[in-house]
Protein backbone atom coordinates (compact mmCIF):
# COMPACT_ATOMS: atom_id res chain seq x y z
CA UNK A 1 0.00 0.00 0.00
CA UNK A 2 1.39 3.30 -0.94
CA UNK A 3 -0.46 6.39 0.08
CA UNK A 4 1.51 9.14 -1.56
CA UNK A 5 2.87 7.43 -4.65
CA UNK A 6 0.45 9.01 -7.09
CA UNK A 7 1.51 12.55 -6.33
CA UNK A 8 2.76 13.92 -9.62
CA UNK A 9 5.54 16.45 -9.78
CA UNK A 10 5.01 19.11 -12.35
CA UNK A 11 3.04 18.10 -15.39
CA UNK A 12 5.70 17.63 -18.03
CA UNK A 13 4.35 15.70 -21.00
CA UNK A 14 7.47 14.23 -22.63
CA UNK A 15 7.72 14.52 -26.37
CA UNK A 16 10.04 15.42 -29.18
CA UNK A 17 8.09 18.06 -31.08
CA UNK A 18 9.41 21.42 -32.27
CA UNK A 19 7.65 23.01 -29.32
CA UNK A 20 9.44 20.67 -26.91
CA UNK A 21 12.78 21.41 -28.49
CA UNK A 22 12.44 25.18 -28.39
CA UNK A 23 14.83 26.96 -26.05
CA UNK A 24 13.13 27.25 -22.63
CA UNK A 25 13.86 30.98 -22.66
CA UNK A 26 11.83 31.36 -25.85
CA UNK A 27 8.89 29.56 -24.31
CA UNK A 28 9.09 31.53 -21.07
CA UNK A 29 9.28 34.88 -22.84
CA UNK A 30 6.50 34.03 -25.27
CA UNK A 31 4.21 32.71 -22.54
CA UNK A 32 4.75 35.90 -20.62
CA UNK A 33 4.07 37.95 -23.74
CA UNK A 34 0.91 35.95 -24.33
CA UNK A 35 -0.36 36.86 -20.86
CA UNK A 36 0.34 40.54 -21.49
CA UNK A 37 -1.47 40.42 -24.84
CA UNK A 38 -4.34 38.64 -23.14
CA UNK A 39 -4.80 41.58 -20.80
CA UNK A 40 -4.15 44.24 -23.44
CA UNK A 41 -6.73 43.21 -25.97
CA UNK A 42 -10.46 43.02 -25.42
CA UNK A 43 -13.20 41.46 -27.43
CA UNK A 44 -14.33 38.02 -28.43
CA UNK A 45 -12.78 38.04 -31.86
CA UNK A 46 -9.14 38.50 -30.78
CA UNK A 47 -9.76 35.96 -28.02
CA UNK A 48 -11.02 33.43 -30.53
CA UNK A 49 -7.87 34.10 -32.54
CA UNK A 50 -5.69 33.56 -29.45
CA UNK A 51 -7.60 30.39 -28.57
CA UNK A 52 -7.02 29.10 -32.09
CA UNK A 53 -3.34 29.95 -31.67
CA UNK A 54 -3.09 27.92 -28.45
CA UNK A 55 -4.85 25.01 -30.15
CA UNK A 56 -2.46 25.09 -33.10
CA UNK A 57 0.60 25.12 -30.83
CA UNK A 58 -0.89 22.25 -28.81
CA UNK A 59 -1.41 20.35 -32.07
CA UNK A 60 2.20 20.90 -33.09
CA UNK A 61 3.37 19.83 -29.62
CA UNK A 62 1.11 16.76 -29.88
CA UNK A 63 -0.31 17.36 -26.42
CA UNK A 64 -3.79 15.80 -26.22
CA UNK A 65 -6.63 18.21 -25.50
CA UNK A 66 -7.68 16.17 -22.47
CA UNK A 67 -4.30 16.70 -20.82
CA UNK A 68 -4.35 20.39 -21.69
CA UNK A 69 -7.71 20.84 -20.01
CA UNK A 70 -6.64 18.90 -16.93
CA UNK A 71 -4.90 22.05 -15.74
CA UNK A 72 -8.30 23.73 -15.54
CA UNK A 73 -9.91 21.38 -13.06
CA UNK A 74 -8.35 22.86 -9.89
CA UNK A 75 -9.53 26.27 -11.08
CA UNK A 76 -13.04 25.38 -12.17
CA UNK A 77 -14.61 26.97 -9.08
CA UNK A 78 -12.78 30.23 -9.53
CA UNK A 79 -13.76 30.34 -13.18
CA UNK A 80 -17.38 29.54 -12.38
CA UNK A 81 -17.41 32.11 -9.60
CA UNK A 82 -15.99 34.79 -11.88
CA UNK A 83 -18.62 34.04 -14.47
CA UNK A 84 -21.52 34.05 -12.00
CA UNK A 85 -20.45 37.20 -10.19
CA UNK A 86 -20.24 39.18 -13.41
CA UNK A 87 -23.37 37.57 -14.74
CA UNK A 88 -25.46 38.84 -11.84
CA UNK A 89 -23.74 42.10 -10.96
CA UNK A 90 -22.77 43.79 -14.20
CA UNK A 91 -25.54 46.10 -15.33
CA UNK A 92 -26.37 47.35 -18.76
CA UNK A 93 -28.04 46.21 -21.96
CA UNK A 94 -31.34 44.43 -22.09
CA UNK A 95 -32.77 42.46 -19.19
CA UNK A 96 -32.60 38.81 -20.09
CA UNK A 97 -34.00 37.17 -16.99
CA UNK A 98 -35.33 38.26 -13.64
CA UNK A 99 -36.40 36.53 -10.45
CA UNK A 100 -36.90 38.67 -7.40
CA UNK A 101 -33.74 40.64 -6.79
CA UNK A 102 -31.72 38.43 -9.16
CA UNK A 103 -31.43 39.92 -12.58
CA UNK A 104 -29.32 39.07 -15.59
CA UNK A 105 -28.64 41.77 -18.12
CA UNK A 106 -27.00 41.22 -21.49
CA UNK A 107 -23.81 43.12 -20.56
CA UNK A 108 -23.39 40.89 -17.54
CA UNK A 109 -23.62 37.77 -19.67
CA UNK A 110 -21.06 39.16 -22.10
CA UNK A 111 -18.69 40.32 -19.38
CA UNK A 112 -18.95 37.06 -17.42
CA UNK A 113 -18.33 34.94 -20.47
CA UNK A 114 -15.47 37.17 -21.55
CA UNK A 115 -13.63 37.03 -18.20
CA UNK A 116 -14.15 33.29 -17.89
CA UNK A 117 -12.73 32.96 -21.39
CA UNK A 118 -9.72 35.05 -20.36
CA UNK A 119 -9.03 32.88 -17.30
CA UNK A 120 -9.35 29.68 -19.32
CA UNK A 121 -6.94 30.97 -21.95
CA UNK A 122 -4.51 32.08 -19.26
CA UNK A 123 -4.43 28.67 -17.61
CA UNK A 124 -4.34 26.66 -20.80
CA UNK A 125 -1.55 28.73 -22.35
CA UNK A 126 0.66 28.61 -19.27
CA UNK A 127 0.09 24.90 -18.83
CA UNK A 128 1.21 24.49 -22.42
CA UNK A 129 4.53 25.92 -21.23
CA UNK A 130 4.90 23.50 -18.33
CA UNK A 131 3.59 20.59 -20.39
CA UNK A 132 6.26 20.97 -23.06
CA UNK A 133 9.20 22.07 -20.90
CA UNK A 134 10.82 19.83 -18.29
CA UNK A 135 11.20 21.41 -14.84
CA UNK A 136 14.99 21.35 -15.22
CA UNK A 137 14.86 23.17 -18.55
CA UNK A 138 12.46 25.69 -17.03
CA UNK A 139 14.86 26.31 -14.17
CA UNK A 140 17.80 26.72 -16.54
CA UNK A 141 15.80 29.10 -18.71
CA UNK A 142 14.70 31.14 -15.73
CA UNK A 143 18.27 31.38 -14.44
CA UNK A 144 19.50 32.64 -17.78
CA UNK A 145 16.66 35.13 -18.20
CA UNK A 146 17.17 36.50 -14.70
CA UNK A 147 20.97 36.48 -14.78
CA UNK A 148 21.33 40.08 -16.05
CA UNK A 149 19.51 41.04 -12.84
CA UNK A 150 22.39 39.59 -10.80
CA UNK A 151 24.21 42.87 -11.25
CA UNK A 152 21.43 44.59 -9.36
CA UNK A 153 21.47 42.08 -6.56
CA UNK A 154 18.87 39.67 -7.93
CA UNK A 155 19.94 36.19 -6.73
CA UNK A 156 19.26 34.49 -10.08
CA UNK A 157 21.65 31.59 -9.60
CA UNK A 158 20.56 31.01 -6.00
CA UNK A 159 16.88 30.95 -6.98
CA UNK A 160 17.55 28.45 -9.73
CA UNK A 161 19.67 26.29 -7.41
CA UNK A 162 16.89 26.30 -4.82
CA UNK A 163 14.38 25.22 -7.44
CA UNK A 164 16.66 22.43 -8.66
CA UNK A 165 17.23 21.14 -5.14
CA UNK A 166 13.52 21.34 -4.35
CA UNK A 167 12.75 19.32 -7.48
CA UNK A 168 15.48 16.84 -6.59
CA UNK A 169 14.17 16.32 -3.06
CA UNK A 170 10.43 16.13 -3.71
CA UNK A 171 10.51 12.39 -4.55
CA UNK A 172 12.89 11.72 -1.65
CA UNK A 173 10.66 13.49 0.84
CA UNK A 174 7.51 11.87 -0.53
CA UNK A 175 9.13 8.50 -0.08
CA UNK A 176 10.10 9.42 3.44
CA UNK A 177 6.64 10.75 4.31
CA UNK A 178 5.24 7.48 3.02
CA UNK A 179 7.61 5.50 5.23
CA UNK A 180 6.76 7.53 8.35
CA UNK A 181 3.06 7.25 7.59
CA UNK A 182 3.26 3.50 7.32
CA UNK A 183 5.32 3.24 10.47
CA UNK A 184 2.63 5.18 12.29
CA UNK A 185 -0.24 3.27 10.71
CA UNK A 186 1.47 0.13 11.97
CA UNK A 187 1.25 1.56 15.46
CA UNK A 188 -2.42 2.38 15.12
CA UNK A 189 -2.38 5.92 13.78
CA UNK A 190 -5.43 6.96 11.81
CA UNK A 191 -4.98 9.38 8.94
CA UNK A 192 -8.21 8.86 7.10
CA UNK A 193 -11.24 9.16 9.33
CA UNK A 194 -12.73 12.13 11.12
CA UNK A 195 -13.41 15.67 10.07
CA UNK A 196 -11.05 18.12 8.52
CA UNK A 197 -9.62 19.34 11.83
CA UNK A 198 -9.14 15.85 13.20
CA UNK A 199 -7.39 14.78 10.04
CA UNK A 200 -5.15 17.84 10.02
CA UNK A 201 -4.27 17.08 13.64
CA UNK A 202 -3.40 13.51 12.81
CA UNK A 203 -0.89 14.79 10.25
CA UNK A 204 1.12 16.56 12.93
CA UNK A 205 3.03 13.45 14.05
CA UNK A 206 3.88 12.97 10.37
CA UNK A 207 5.10 16.50 9.76
CA UNK A 208 7.35 16.79 12.79
CA UNK A 209 9.70 13.91 11.90
CA UNK A 210 9.54 14.93 8.25
CA UNK A 211 10.73 18.44 9.07
CA UNK A 212 13.47 17.23 11.39
CA UNK A 213 14.77 14.93 8.71
CA UNK A 214 14.51 17.61 6.02
CA UNK A 215 16.74 19.87 8.10
CA UNK A 216 19.23 17.08 8.65
CA UNK A 217 19.25 16.38 4.92
CA UNK A 218 19.76 20.06 4.13
CA UNK A 219 22.71 20.16 6.48
CA UNK A 220 24.35 17.11 4.92
CA UNK A 221 23.62 18.29 1.40
CA UNK A 222 25.25 21.64 2.11
CA UNK A 223 28.37 19.87 3.30
CA UNK A 224 28.41 17.57 0.29
CA UNK A 225 28.02 20.56 -2.03
CA UNK A 226 30.89 22.36 -0.35
CA UNK A 227 33.01 19.23 -0.59
CA UNK A 228 32.42 19.40 -4.34
CA UNK A 229 33.83 22.92 -4.44
CA UNK A 230 30.49 24.71 -4.66
CA UNK A 231 30.81 28.44 -4.02
CA UNK A 232 27.71 29.94 -5.51
CA UNK A 233 27.19 31.07 -9.07
CA UNK A 234 30.50 32.84 -9.53
CA UNK A 235 33.08 31.24 -11.85
CA UNK A 236 30.59 28.49 -12.48
CA UNK A 237 30.25 26.94 -15.93
CA UNK A 238 27.38 24.79 -17.12
CA UNK A 239 27.26 21.40 -18.78
CA UNK A 240 24.41 22.45 -21.02
CA UNK A 241 24.70 25.90 -22.48
CA UNK A 242 21.41 27.24 -23.77
CA UNK A 243 21.66 28.28 -27.39
CA UNK A 244 19.08 29.98 -29.56
CA UNK A 245 18.65 28.25 -32.90
CA UNK A 246 16.80 29.14 -36.07
CA UNK A 247 13.55 27.66 -34.74
CA UNK A 248 13.63 30.04 -31.77
CA UNK A 249 13.88 33.05 -34.07
CA UNK A 250 11.03 31.67 -36.15
CA UNK A 251 8.99 31.21 -32.97
CA UNK A 252 9.63 34.79 -31.91
CA UNK A 253 8.76 36.05 -35.37
CA UNK A 254 5.54 34.07 -35.73
CA UNK A 255 4.46 34.91 -32.20
CA UNK A 256 5.04 38.63 -32.81
CA UNK A 257 2.94 38.35 -35.95
CA UNK A 258 0.14 36.46 -34.19
CA UNK A 259 0.10 38.86 -31.25
CA UNK A 260 0.04 41.77 -33.67
CA UNK A 261 -2.98 40.30 -35.43
CA UNK A 262 -4.71 39.83 -32.08
CA UNK A 263 -4.06 43.47 -31.27
CA UNK A 264 -5.48 44.74 -34.55
CA UNK A 265 -8.50 42.47 -34.28
CA UNK A 266 -9.15 44.03 -30.88
CA UNK A 267 -8.72 47.54 -32.19
CA UNK A 268 -10.58 47.61 -35.46
CA UNK A 269 -12.98 44.79 -35.70
Amino acid sequence: MSILKNVTIGQYYPGDSVVHRLDPRTKLVLSFAFIIVLFLVNGFLPYLWLAALVMVVAQIARVPLKIMLRGLSPLKFIIALTFLLHLFTTRGGTVLWQLGFLRIESNGLAQGAFLAFRLILLVVATSLLTLTTSPIALTDGLERILSPGARFGLPAHELAMMMTIALRFIPTLIEEADKIMRAQLARGADFESGGLIKRAKSLLPLLVPLFVSAFRRADELAMAMEARAYRGGKHRTRLKVLKYTAKDFWAYFLAALAFGIAYFLGRWV
Binding site: P135, I136, T164, I165, L167, R168, P171, T172, E175, R216, R217, E220, L221, M223, A224, M225, E226, A227, R228, A229, Y230, R231, H235, R236, T237, R238, L239, K240, V241
Partner: protein
Protein backbone atom coordinates in the same frame (compact mmCIF):
# COMPACT_ATOMS: atom_id res chain seq x y z
CA UNK B 1 57.58 15.85 0.44
CA UNK B 2 56.22 12.74 -1.16
CA UNK B 3 53.29 12.00 1.14
CA UNK B 4 49.98 13.02 -0.41
CA UNK B 5 48.30 13.39 2.98
CA UNK B 6 50.31 14.40 6.01
CA UNK B 7 48.92 15.21 9.43
CA UNK B 8 51.02 16.46 12.27
CA UNK B 9 49.75 16.71 15.82
CA UNK B 10 46.20 17.32 14.65
CA UNK B 11 43.74 18.05 17.43
CA UNK B 12 40.18 19.09 16.91
CA UNK B 13 37.26 19.86 19.14
CA UNK B 14 33.77 20.61 17.89
CA UNK B 15 33.12 22.92 20.80
CA UNK B 16 36.11 25.18 21.21
CA UNK B 17 34.78 26.69 24.46
CA UNK B 18 35.17 23.42 26.26
CA UNK B 19 38.18 21.71 24.70
CA UNK B 20 38.54 19.01 27.34
CA UNK B 21 35.10 17.57 26.84
CA UNK B 22 34.73 17.37 23.12
CA UNK B 23 38.16 16.57 21.73
CA UNK B 24 37.28 14.60 18.62
CA UNK B 25 40.93 14.26 17.60
CA UNK B 26 43.92 14.38 19.92
CA UNK B 27 47.36 14.78 18.43
CA UNK B 28 46.89 12.64 15.34
CA UNK B 29 49.99 12.30 13.18
CA UNK B 30 50.08 10.18 10.09
CA UNK B 31 51.13 10.25 6.50
CA UNK B 32 49.67 8.52 3.48
CA UNK B 33 51.61 7.93 0.27
CA UNK B 34 50.17 8.36 -3.24
CA UNK B 35 48.46 5.19 -4.48
CA UNK B 36 47.85 3.71 -1.04
CA UNK B 37 44.55 2.09 -0.08
CA UNK B 38 44.09 2.92 3.57
CA UNK B 39 41.19 1.90 5.80
CA UNK B 40 40.44 3.94 8.87
CA UNK B 41 38.44 2.01 11.44
CA UNK B 42 37.16 2.71 14.91
CA UNK B 43 33.90 2.49 16.79
CA UNK B 44 31.30 5.26 16.84
CA UNK B 45 32.71 8.50 18.17
CA UNK B 46 36.31 7.44 17.66
CA UNK B 47 36.90 10.45 15.44
CA UNK B 48 37.22 8.67 12.12
CA UNK B 49 34.72 10.85 10.27
CA UNK B 50 36.22 13.96 11.83
CA UNK B 51 39.60 12.83 10.56
CA UNK B 52 38.22 12.33 7.05
CA UNK B 53 36.72 15.81 7.00
CA UNK B 54 40.16 17.24 7.75
CA UNK B 55 41.54 15.80 4.53
CA UNK B 56 39.39 17.98 2.28
CA UNK B 57 39.34 21.07 4.45
CA UNK B 58 35.70 20.80 5.52
CA UNK B 59 37.18 20.97 9.01
CA UNK B 60 40.47 22.57 9.91
CA UNK B 61 42.46 21.51 12.96
CA UNK B 62 42.16 23.37 16.25
CA UNK B 63 45.87 22.74 16.60
CA UNK B 64 48.37 20.92 14.41
CA UNK B 65 48.43 20.99 10.64
CA UNK B 66 47.23 18.98 7.66
CA UNK B 67 48.93 19.01 4.25
CA UNK B 68 47.18 17.64 1.20
CA UNK B 69 49.44 17.23 -1.81
CA UNK B 70 51.79 19.74 -0.20
CA UNK B 71 49.11 22.37 0.48
CA UNK B 72 48.23 23.22 4.06
CA UNK B 73 44.50 23.18 4.77
CA UNK B 74 45.04 26.28 6.91
CA UNK B 75 45.61 28.24 3.71
CA UNK B 76 42.08 29.55 3.15
CA UNK B 77 42.81 30.56 -0.46
CA UNK B 78 43.56 26.97 -1.37
CA UNK B 79 40.42 25.41 0.04
CA UNK B 80 38.91 24.80 -3.40
CA UNK B 81 42.20 23.48 -4.78
CA UNK B 82 42.28 20.98 -1.91
CA UNK B 83 38.66 19.96 -2.47
CA UNK B 84 39.48 19.28 -6.08
CA UNK B 85 42.44 17.08 -5.07
CA UNK B 86 40.62 15.23 -2.31
CA UNK B 87 37.12 14.13 -3.31
CA UNK B 88 34.77 12.89 -0.65
CA UNK B 89 31.80 10.55 -0.80
CA UNK B 90 29.47 10.66 2.20
CA UNK B 91 27.32 8.17 4.01
CA UNK B 92 23.81 8.91 2.83
CA UNK B 93 23.54 8.66 -0.96
CA UNK B 94 20.28 10.64 -0.97
CA UNK B 95 21.78 13.65 0.74
CA UNK B 96 24.68 14.28 -1.60
CA UNK B 97 23.08 14.11 -5.02
CA UNK B 98 22.20 17.63 -6.13
CA UNK B 99 20.66 17.33 -9.58
CA UNK B 100 17.58 15.58 -10.92
CA UNK B 101 19.44 13.69 -13.65
CA UNK B 102 22.51 11.49 -13.15
CA UNK B 103 24.73 13.23 -15.70
CA UNK B 104 23.77 16.67 -14.40
CA UNK B 105 24.82 15.59 -10.94
CA UNK B 106 28.16 14.28 -12.15
CA UNK B 107 28.61 17.65 -13.87
CA UNK B 108 28.08 19.56 -10.62
CA UNK B 109 31.70 19.39 -9.40
CA UNK B 110 33.35 20.31 -12.73
CA UNK B 111 30.79 23.12 -13.16
CA UNK B 112 31.90 24.53 -9.81
CA UNK B 113 35.51 24.37 -10.95
CA UNK B 114 34.64 26.48 -13.98
CA UNK B 115 35.53 23.87 -16.58
CA UNK B 116 34.34 24.49 -20.16
CA UNK B 117 31.22 22.56 -21.14
CA UNK B 118 32.70 20.26 -23.80
CA UNK B 119 35.39 19.20 -21.32
CA UNK B 120 32.67 18.60 -18.70
CA UNK B 121 30.85 16.37 -21.18
CA UNK B 122 34.06 14.37 -21.72
CA UNK B 123 34.65 14.02 -17.99
CA UNK B 124 31.08 12.86 -17.34
CA UNK B 125 31.40 10.10 -19.90
CA UNK B 126 34.76 9.05 -18.48
CA UNK B 127 33.62 9.15 -14.83
CA UNK B 128 30.39 7.26 -15.49
CA UNK B 129 32.21 4.56 -17.40
CA UNK B 130 34.77 4.23 -14.57
CA UNK B 131 31.99 3.44 -12.12
CA UNK B 132 30.11 1.38 -14.75
CA UNK B 133 27.07 3.64 -14.75
CA UNK B 134 27.16 4.90 -18.34
CA UNK B 135 23.81 3.31 -19.12
CA UNK B 136 22.14 5.38 -16.44
CA UNK B 137 23.40 8.81 -17.54
CA UNK B 138 19.91 10.13 -18.18
CA UNK B 139 18.11 8.45 -15.27
CA UNK B 140 16.65 10.38 -12.35
CA UNK B 141 18.75 9.45 -9.30
CA UNK B 142 15.83 8.65 -7.01
CA UNK B 143 15.01 5.60 -9.11
CA UNK B 144 18.46 4.04 -8.60
CA UNK B 145 19.45 1.53 -5.92
CA UNK B 146 21.61 2.61 -2.99
CA UNK B 147 24.75 1.10 -4.47
CA UNK B 148 24.08 2.75 -7.81
CA UNK B 149 23.51 6.12 -6.14
CA UNK B 150 26.83 5.84 -4.32
CA UNK B 151 28.54 4.97 -7.60
CA UNK B 152 27.01 8.10 -9.11
CA UNK B 153 28.35 10.05 -6.12
CA UNK B 154 31.79 8.54 -6.74
CA UNK B 155 31.53 9.50 -10.42
CA UNK B 156 30.64 13.04 -9.33
CA UNK B 157 33.89 13.15 -7.39
CA UNK B 158 35.95 11.50 -10.16
CA UNK B 159 34.77 14.08 -12.68
CA UNK B 160 36.75 16.65 -10.68
CA UNK B 161 39.91 14.61 -11.39
CA UNK B 162 40.98 14.18 -7.78
CA UNK B 163 44.11 12.41 -6.58
CA UNK B 164 42.47 11.16 -3.40
CA UNK B 165 39.11 9.44 -2.97
CA UNK B 166 37.73 9.56 0.57
CA UNK B 167 34.84 7.25 1.33
CA UNK B 168 33.33 8.46 4.59
CA UNK B 169 31.28 5.44 5.67
CA UNK B 170 29.92 5.41 2.15
CA UNK B 171 28.84 1.79 2.49
CA UNK B 172 27.18 2.08 5.89
CA UNK B 173 23.63 2.54 4.56
CA UNK B 174 23.85 0.03 1.74
CA UNK B 175 22.72 -3.56 1.47
CA UNK B 176 25.42 -6.23 0.98
CA UNK B 177 25.13 -6.04 -2.80
CA UNK B 178 25.48 -2.25 -2.80
CA UNK B 179 28.45 -2.46 -0.45
CA UNK B 180 30.09 -4.93 -2.77
CA UNK B 181 29.52 -2.58 -5.77
CA UNK B 182 31.09 0.37 -3.99
CA UNK B 183 34.05 -1.63 -2.67
CA UNK B 184 34.78 -3.12 -6.09
CA UNK B 185 34.67 0.35 -7.63
CA UNK B 186 37.08 1.77 -5.04
CA UNK B 187 39.47 -1.17 -5.37
CA UNK B 188 39.43 -0.95 -9.15
CA UNK B 189 40.15 2.78 -9.12
CA UNK B 190 43.04 2.17 -6.76
CA UNK B 191 44.47 -0.68 -8.82
CA UNK B 192 43.93 0.63 -12.32
CA UNK B 193 44.21 4.36 -11.81
CA UNK B 194 46.61 4.52 -8.88
CA UNK B 195 44.02 6.55 -6.98
CA UNK B 196 44.81 7.08 -3.31
CA UNK B 197 41.80 5.74 -1.40
CA UNK B 198 40.94 6.51 2.20
CA UNK B 199 38.15 4.22 3.32
CA UNK B 200 36.36 5.08 6.56
CA UNK B 201 34.36 2.07 7.67
CA UNK B 202 33.20 -0.01 10.55
CA UNK B 203 32.83 -3.14 8.49
CA UNK B 204 36.00 -5.12 9.15
CA UNK B 205 35.35 -7.28 6.11
CA UNK B 206 35.83 -4.15 4.02
CA UNK B 207 38.88 -2.95 5.94
CA UNK B 208 40.55 -6.31 5.28
CA UNK B 209 40.70 -5.44 1.61
CA UNK B 210 42.85 -2.36 2.22
CA UNK B 211 46.63 -2.46 2.21
CA UNK B 212 46.94 -0.54 5.40
CA UNK B 213 44.67 -0.07 8.39
CA UNK B 214 44.64 2.78 10.87
CA UNK B 215 42.69 2.17 14.07
CA UNK B 216 41.35 5.18 15.92
CA UNK B 217 40.04 5.24 19.46
CA UNK B 218 38.87 8.34 21.31
CA UNK B 219 40.56 10.61 18.81
CA UNK B 220 43.95 8.90 18.90
CA UNK B 221 45.71 6.58 16.51
CA UNK B 222 45.97 3.26 18.33
CA UNK B 223 47.25 1.03 15.57
CA UNK B 224 48.71 1.87 12.19
CA UNK B 225 50.21 -0.77 10.00
CA UNK B 226 49.70 -3.24 7.23
CA UNK B 227 46.33 -4.91 7.26
CA UNK B 228 47.93 -8.20 8.31
CA UNK B 229 49.78 -6.65 11.23
CA UNK B 230 46.75 -4.81 12.51
CA UNK B 231 44.33 -7.70 12.32
CA UNK B 232 46.71 -10.11 14.01
CA UNK B 233 46.15 -8.12 17.19
CA UNK B 234 42.80 -9.74 17.78
CA UNK B 235 42.69 -9.13 21.52
CA UNK B 236 43.54 -5.44 21.32
CA UNK B 237 40.92 -4.89 18.60
CA UNK B 238 38.26 -6.63 20.69
CA UNK B 239 39.27 -4.55 23.67
CA UNK B 240 38.69 -1.44 21.57
CA UNK B 241 35.18 -2.63 20.87
CA UNK B 242 35.89 -3.58 17.27
CA UNK B 243 35.01 -6.66 15.33
CA UNK B 244 37.63 -8.86 13.80
CA UNK B 245 37.19 -10.32 10.30
CA UNK B 246 35.34 -13.63 10.59
CA UNK B 247 38.23 -15.67 9.24
CA UNK B 248 40.73 -14.11 11.61
CA UNK B 249 38.41 -14.75 14.48
CA UNK B 250 37.99 -18.36 13.43
CA UNK B 251 41.77 -18.75 13.18
CA UNK B 252 42.11 -17.50 16.72
CA UNK B 253 39.53 -19.95 18.01
CA UNK B 254 41.30 -22.81 16.22
CA UNK B 255 44.63 -21.73 17.68
CA UNK B 256 43.11 -21.81 21.12
CA UNK B 257 42.08 -25.37 20.39
CA UNK B 258 45.71 -26.15 19.67
CA UNK B 259 45.83 -25.97 15.89
CA UNK B 260 49.07 -24.58 14.56
CA UNK B 261 47.73 -21.67 12.46
CA UNK B 262 49.33 -18.31 11.73
CA UNK B 263 47.64 -15.51 13.71
CA UNK B 264 47.27 -13.24 10.68
CA UNK B 265 44.93 -15.23 8.45
CA UNK B 266 42.73 -12.69 6.66
CA UNK B 267 40.87 -14.35 3.82
CA UNK B 268 39.01 -17.57 3.25
CA UNK B 269 41.59 -18.57 0.64
CA UNK B 270 44.46 -18.22 3.08
CA UNK B 271 42.56 -20.18 5.67
CA UNK B 272 41.94 -23.01 3.25
CA UNK B 273 45.61 -23.05 2.32
CA UNK B 274 46.79 -23.17 5.92
CA UNK B 275 44.32 -25.85 6.88
CA UNK B 276 45.38 -27.97 3.92
CA UNK B 277 49.00 -27.69 5.01
CA UNK B 278 48.06 -28.95 8.44
CA UNK B 279 46.35 -31.99 7.04
Amino acid sequence: MSAIIRMEGVSFSYNSDDPQQTQALQGVSLSIEPGEFVAIVGRNGSGKSTLAKHINAILTPTSGEVWVDGISTKDTDSVFAIRQIAGMVFQNPDNQIVATIVEEDVAFGPENLGIPSDEIRRRIDEALSLVRMSDYALHPPHLLSGGQKQRVAIAGVLAMHPKILILDESTAMLDPLGRQEVMETALRLNRERGMTVVLITHHMDEAVRAERVIVLDRGRVVLDGSTREVFSQVDLLRQLGLDVPQVTSLAQLLREQGLNLQPDVLTVGEMVEQLCQLL
